[in-house]
């Protein structure tokens, strides 16, 4: 009885103090916020400024979350810091594939003095808002590895694999190895990512060019979150349609690694073209169980991207074509060139640097 009476006591009457808690709290919050921030004259907005040295530039490379694809960015950022004499270059993958968290990470880095950002946006439809916010405050921005969705890129530039072209190349290589006919399966990443939509379009284009000789199974999407998810999806696919599939093209990292192992273990006569140059895939190309892979250029994205960002953040240069979309390159790797493709990729990165100096950057 005591319990109920006590509980109910809190539903009636009340002290003056409690009645004023809410307005008091609201007033206190408002006052505290005003004290902390203060008002500003209407004209005092940022922008402009004299050119400064590259040692004043602190570059932050922010991927959407942890993923093996971004690991080369770490070494590339360190290399860029040394080679270009940057104030700092950091890599932060704590966004956890959440756009709000990625924005929080970026904001905290700005507060810590970082003034140039290479970002792989989690949400391609929202990342332009983040770039606008940074640019309004005079911060150099680059979309690295993934361009914003739609026709507009609000970052200073986007340096990324042309995903549709890479997927088209991969599908073409698969169809060629299949002998020009058969049934093709496409494994890929997050369906809501505009890059995935571009990859789907690239594969579809290559299949359409066969005039019906190749049948494309429904795309298997959303299996790039981790290797376990990818392994399960590939196992399910091989169990249900393994006997009719003649080729698999994977345009995402984890499914490619999973498919390389699964196809080899199953012994099915399936031609596999993968993406990226994971050691498992390269070993599988060497032993013939994977026909080819499409290597991307994450090192070039981070290294050349850091260089261009430093030039922009130091106000030494501006973009000739703000918002330019630049292909960081994709490379077909087969048994023939598995030992030498990295030279081709290094040469492509060097050419990218030259292109930035000659065409993309307008320097004083």
């Amino acid at each position: 009885m005591t319990t109920d009476d006590d509980l109910m006591a809190r539903t009636d009457g009340g002290s003056t103090m409690r009645r004023t808690t809410l307005p008091l709290a609201v007033t206190a919050i408002t006052a505290a916020a005003l004290l902390l921030s203060g008002c500003t004259p209407q004209a005092s907005t940022g922008g402009g400024g004299e050119a400064a040295g590259l040692d004043t530039v602190k570059v932050a490379l922010v991927p959407g979350g942890p993923h093996p694809y971004f690991q080369p960015w770490i070494a590339a950022a360190d290399q860029a810091k040394t080679d270009f004499g940057l104030g700092d270059a950091t890599f932060n993958e704590t966004a956890g594939w959440d756009q709000t968290k990625e924005n929080d990470v970026i904001n905290s880095l700005v507060a810590n003095g970082y003034n140039a950002f290479g970002v792989f946006g989690v949400s391609p439809t929202d990342i332009n808002s983040t770039f606008q916010n940074l640019k309004q405050n005079g911060i150099a921005t680059a979309a690295l590895g993934s361009c914003p969705a739609g026709d507009t890129n609000d970052a200073d530039f986007c340096l990324s694999t042309d995903t549709e072209a890479a997927a088209y190349k991969a599908a073409q290589a698969t169809i060629e190895a299949m002998g020009g006919s058969g049934v093709l399966a496409h494994l890929t990443g997050v369906n809501v990512d505009s890059n995935t939509q571009r990859r789907i379009a690239g594969v579809k284009k290559a299949v359409e060019e066969t005039n019906g000789a190749v049948t494309l199974l429904p795309d298997v999407t959303d299996i790039d979150t981790d290797i376990t998810t990818a392994q399960k999806a590939v196992a399910d696919l091989l169990a249900s349609k393994g006997s009719e599939i003649t080729g698999i093209v994977s345009t995402a990292y984890n499914p490619a690694v999973a498919a390389a192992t699964a196809v080899k273990e199953s012994g099915l006569p399936i031609t596999l073209v993968a993406i990226d140059d994971d050691e498992t895939i390269l070993a599988a190309i060497e032993d013939g169980s994977v026909y080819a892979t499409i290597a991307q250029n994450p090192t070039g994205q981070a290294y050349v991207g850091s260089y261009a960002l430093a030039k922009l953040a130091s106000k030494e240069c501006t973009m000739s074509d703000p918002g330019a979309i630049i292909d960081s390159g994709s490379f077909v790797v087969t048994k023939e060139n598995v030992a030498s493709y990295d030279d081709e990729r290094t040469a492509a990165s060097e050419q990218l640097m030259k292109d930035f100096d000659a065409d993309h950057l307008a320097c004083s």
């Binding site: 005591t2 319990t3 109920d4 006590d6 509980l7 109910m8 006591a9 809190r10 539903t11 009636d12 009457g13 009340g14 002290s15 003056t16 103090m17 409690r18 009645r19 808690t21 809410l22 709290a25 609201v26 916020a33 005003l34 902390l36 921030s37 203060g38 008002c39 500003t40 004259p41 209407q42 932060n92 704590t94 966004a95 956890g96 959440d98 756009q99 709000t100 968290k101 924005n103 929080d104 990470v105 904001n107 905290s108 700005v110 507060a111 810590n112 003095g113 949400s123 439809t125 929202d126 332009n128 808002s129 983040t130 969705a149 739609g150 369906n191 809501v192 990512d193 505009s194 939509q197």
Partner: protein, 346 residues
């Protein structure tokens, strides 16, 4: 004990403890990381997050007030936001009309949940868990069917003003407001005040609390408890939808991932703030303070560059401490020794 002065009683409440911790924490952060005072990049995003998550906390608090819980709070947010997104993207509705439609959708899904619970008598955990799974499938399917790239990106006039502008864009006589305070705080303060008034000043609020503290006693007192259960879940759905819409305006578009992060925070805020899991007692200000504490800690760790794993571990620990504190409070309450025992909720 009953005769303790009001000030002493208030000093012993969870709210005062939270305020003290927040003040100390902020002072430490300012000393160790002066960049904490950066208006545009630290304070404004922090206050925006506090605003959004306070509404999320209130959405959970309204069902906690009747001793229920809403596991689907994140998915209801996604559902309400999706309806608003559709109304902007496909129906070209103006901002206010689109937001209202989203709120109505949230209210409807909340009311449906409440009705199922009231009619079947099944535990709210089970029903909202089932609702969460249903919406988890429905929302991405609708996005895939009705949008390209699974996002509604059309922004009506005022969309960015609500979600991404600060008082710096409000200028009078040559002076503009602080860049650290987002405009979003205005609607959130209004919502806080309305919910506070509901529980503090209206019969409905008192009946909700009575239903939460003892449903049998409430029924014997002539309170239509089934309707109050539906009311609490309707409010929860509406507030969840509002939080989803506010989050969408702050990130820039409507996507199926809205609300993914809501569930844990929705419990942490109210429980830290003194709301009882068992029902019968709520605190709007406490919810706000609970949310503020967790987000200030999070922001501090971010400024020190601490990884996401540590953030999650810390959030889990905070929830564990909060739940333990809730249990201790409940025991004290049943013995009539809680500092809040003679107070009305705010």
């Amino acid at each position: 004990m009953r005769s303790r002065p009001a000030v002493l009683r208030w000093l012993a409440t969870p709210r005062f403890v939270l305020i003290a911790i927040i003040v100390v924490l902020v002072a430490v952060l300012i000393v160790l990381k002066p960049s904490f005072l950066n208006g545009a990049f630290v304070l404004a995003p922090l206050i925006t997050s506090i605003a959004v998550f306070t509404v999320v906390g209130l959405a959970q608090m309204t069902v906690l007030s009747i001793g229920h819980m809403n596991i689907a709070v994140g998915q209801m947010a996604a559902f309400g936001a999706m309806v608003s997104g559709i109304s902007f993207d496909l129906l070209a509705l103006p901002l206010v009309a689109g937001i209202l439609l989203g709120l109505v959708a949230g209210a409807a899904i909340g009311a449906l949940t409440g009705w199922i619970i009231a009619r079947t008598g099944v535990n709210s955990f089970i029903v909202t868990l089932a609702m969460s799974f249903a919406l988890l499938g429905l929302v991405p399917t609708v996005y895939s069917a009705l949008s390209t790239g699974s996002a509604f990106v059309v922004k009506p006039e005022g969309f960015d003003l609500l979600g991404r502008s600060s008082f710096a864009s409000v200028c009078l006589a040559g002076w503009c407001g602080p860049a650290a305070i987002p405009l979003m705080v205005v609607p959130v303060l209004v919502v806080m005040a309305l919910i506070g008034l509901l529980y503090q000043r209206t019969r409905y609020g008192r009946e909700l609390l009575l239903t939460g503290s003892n449903v049998t006693a409430a029924e014997l007192s002539g309170i239509p408890t089934s309707r109050r259960i539906v009311l609490a879940h309707t409010l929860s759905g509406t507030l969840a939808a509002l939080a989803g819409i506010l989050l969408a305006t702050s990130i820039g578009s409507f996507t199926p991932s809205i609300g993914d992060e809501f569930m844990l925070q929705s419990f942490v805020g109210p429980i830290l703030g003194g709301t009882l899991l068992a029902g019968g007692y709520v605190s709007v200000v406490g919810t706000f303070l609970g949310i503020t504490l967790t987000l200030v800690i999070r922001k501090g760790l971010e400024l020190f560059g601490v990884g996401i794993e540590t953030l999650n571990v810390l959030l889990g620990v905070i929830l564990l401490v909060a739940l333990s504190a809730d249990r201790v409070r409940e025991i004290r309450l049943r013995r009539g020794r809680t500092p809040d025992a003679e107070e009305v909720p705010a």
